[in-house]
């Protein structure tokens, strides 16, 4: 529900970076979205369609790189992909693990510009 705010801060950051690099147009914005980030990729995409027009990033391609969740089981000392995105039951010993090693990402990764 706050994807618009996330998109706005990403765009602001992208435009500032592009400007200080002397670019006149942003062609591609790459954002990494973890499965546990609380951000919905489609809502984020929609938010960008609303805020890009009229900026140096108008018409830019939004590339969203999804990141799967990875949890860690301290008993087995092993990483594992949770069965679904959220239930961190170790597939080896069945213990519930709250240690998330990957999946909370919400990063502005890369810009392509002219």
């Amino acid at each position: 529900m706050h994807e618009l705010g996330i998109a706005e801060s990403a765009l602001e950051l992208a435009l500032t970076q592009a400007h200080s690099a002397g670019a006149s147009r942003v062609l591609r914005i790459v954002i990494r979205v973890g499965a546990l980030s609380g951000v919905d990729a489609e809502a984020l995409r929609f938010a960008f369609t609303v805020i890009l027009p009229g900026t140096a990033a108008e018409g830019a391609t939004l590339q969203i790189d999804p990141v799967a969740a990875i949890a860690y089981c301290p008993a087995c000392q092993k990483d594992f992909f949770p069965d679904t995105d959220h239930f961190f039951e170790c597939p080896t010993c069945g213990q519930l693990c709250a240690t998330v090693k990957q999946g909370r990402e919400l990063d502005l990764v890369r810009l392509e510009m002219l």
């Binding site: 970076q17 519930l96 709250a98 510009m113």
Partner: protein, 256 residues
Amino acid sequence: MPNKKPERSRAGAPARSGVILVDVRDPADTPPTPPGDPLPGTVRTIDLQVRLLDENDRRAAENRTFLQQRGIRALNFVSSPGAGKTTLLERTLDALAGEVRCAVLVGDLETDNDARRLRREGLPVAQITTGGTCHLDASMVARGLAALSLGEVRLLFVENVGNLVCPASFDLGENRRITLLSCTEGEDKPLKYPPIFTSAHAVIVNKIDVAAVLGFDRAVALTNIRRVAPQAEIFELSARTGEGFDRWLAYLRALL
């Protein structure tokens, strides 16, 4: 060598090709960006690798330091609208009155109804009206803290905007995040909205007094909470009747 580009010389001296070129272009003039698809080889890439919540996390860390320096422990209460956050706080404040000095920040989209419900003698309370934003963020809390007189305060209760999705992503600088689930919402809420539970230090199952009437299966609810949030301490209570409140108050006292 007809294919070799002539070399330029600003001073008008002959370049190695033997052709004299006088460059009078202003170096500040960059060619206008051509419309349409970019020409090959003109696209530049910069790697940023910036976390989008960095700014919020930085401010949250400032809040945490600010509170720690004053000896204040902060709790962030999150739940869907109507789960009973305000009622829980009302009873908690009354139970701790005269024993622990508390302060309250309340976030809502509009109105100061909740803050007015929480007004107590000598209790610093401030309403943060977000005007449509679906969560509190660390800078809103910093402004709220600045508006309160925090002398002698030991516990700060932050009542987040009623929303089971967005507040999960925003660290406010709290010491404990408390997620409420009420019996009216059904046993499967933790499975439907995991992030707000996975990030909780404690989960309160509220309205336990009407659980039986609603056909709410407490055992199933507890199993679901433990599946999603094995790290969380679980409290079953009724903020309306006070059932199960002793353990909750002991948890708060142990924070001090």
